[in-house]
Amino acid sequence: MPTVTVTFAPQLQRHVACPAQRLVAATLGEALHAAFRAAPLIQSYVLDEQGNVRKHVAVFVNKDLVVNRNDLSMPLAADDAITVIQALSGG
């Protein structure tokens, strides 16, 4: 299984501290859930109660935005960089 990195944006870490992690995961969903174990509270900031990525959170795998928020089954490759940021600014 590939080794990947998961990084949460500083704006997210303002609420829950969770440093970047290097971990082993076959799919995007596995990587996120493995990363959540380091700071369980952060899961509800990224995923809603149905397990989907929140609509104003953006997940990137390398430079590619994950468009389908309801499907975290995409396979990962070695050294993929997963970045979780907030997707929208507001007033």
Binding site: Q11, L12, H15, L41, S44, Y45, V46, D48, E49, Q50, G51, R54, H56, V57, Q86, A87, L88, G90
Partner: protein
Amino acid sequence: MPTPTLLIASRKGLFTANRSSAGAWGITSHHFHGEPVTQVLADPRDGAWYAALRLGHYGVKMRKSTDRGATWTEIPAPAFPKKPEHGAWADDATPWTVELVWSLAAVSAAQPGALWAGCMPAGMFRSNDGGASWNLCESFWRDERRKAWMGGGNDYPGLHSISVDPRDDRRATIAISCGGVWRTKDFGASWQLIGNGLDAQYMPTELAADPNVQDVHSLSVCAAQPEVMWVQHHAGVYRSTDGGENFTRLTAPMQGDFGFVIVADPVNPLRAWVAPALSDMYRYAVDGAMCVARTDDGGNTWQLFRNGLPQSHAYHLVYRHGLALAPTSGDARMLAMASTTGGAWVSEDAGEHWVALDAALPPVAAVGWAAGG
């Protein structure tokens, strides 16, 4: 009795305000800087403060303080269970995701730690442990009649008013925009649709009298006589004297009877306050001049109070939770009011005179009171 502390839930955080020794009201603290707070509750049983946040990116969060706001901890937020993939609710158009916590209520002194939370979408949640965990009232959430609700101006129906019967804590009356008035007699195990007499004039004729589609903006109950209930509806002000089974439309406070909030006097069943607004097409103070209307005869007549409120180009709107009575052991006379355009005022004579807080606040979602510390 020390002067109570005013809690202001705004789009940019939670503020407290207190009265100085000179008698002026001013902001005394700011919490959750920059974060939308949708509801606040000071639990009269143990003094705990609860704040519901709606983080635009990260969803609904709850915070709790047991030291009057000096420190806060994150507690779980109400959350729906997994949406079924099969069966009657698999194609539910309403997402099973809490968008915001719109109402909070302490149940009773006999059930310490028991809380109700009403949300948008209109789920009803109960905690038995001071917010450490929440359970959805499944029987209500899976009632087929929910499919006829709509959100009105919001994306989804929302549960904004919760009133626990002071005589029997198994009973509570709630109201939903746009889903009418409901009651439980068994601590949420089962629910009855009540609210006959409400009239949704803006709906198709066949539905106008249907209790299940009513856009109740706010429901408030007289604590001393809980059979007396008041409703500010999308189209009119109403009063019930039979525990919400039936409502009668009242005389309009001014040339219109639109608004979002109504507050019942806790002792006098004939007294209530509203913050009138100019019709659903405009939704701001009539003629740009703010007033508060109070009835002392059960809604037959209303007095309009403007002293201390802006009267020229003041396009404030007081939303569902923007008017609140301070707790008192005597006659209820202290009220706070705040608008979606950041104005805030306090009255200490039952709404007849108002003083403005010296602050230009963010949009205010709710005001509440905590006993003086």
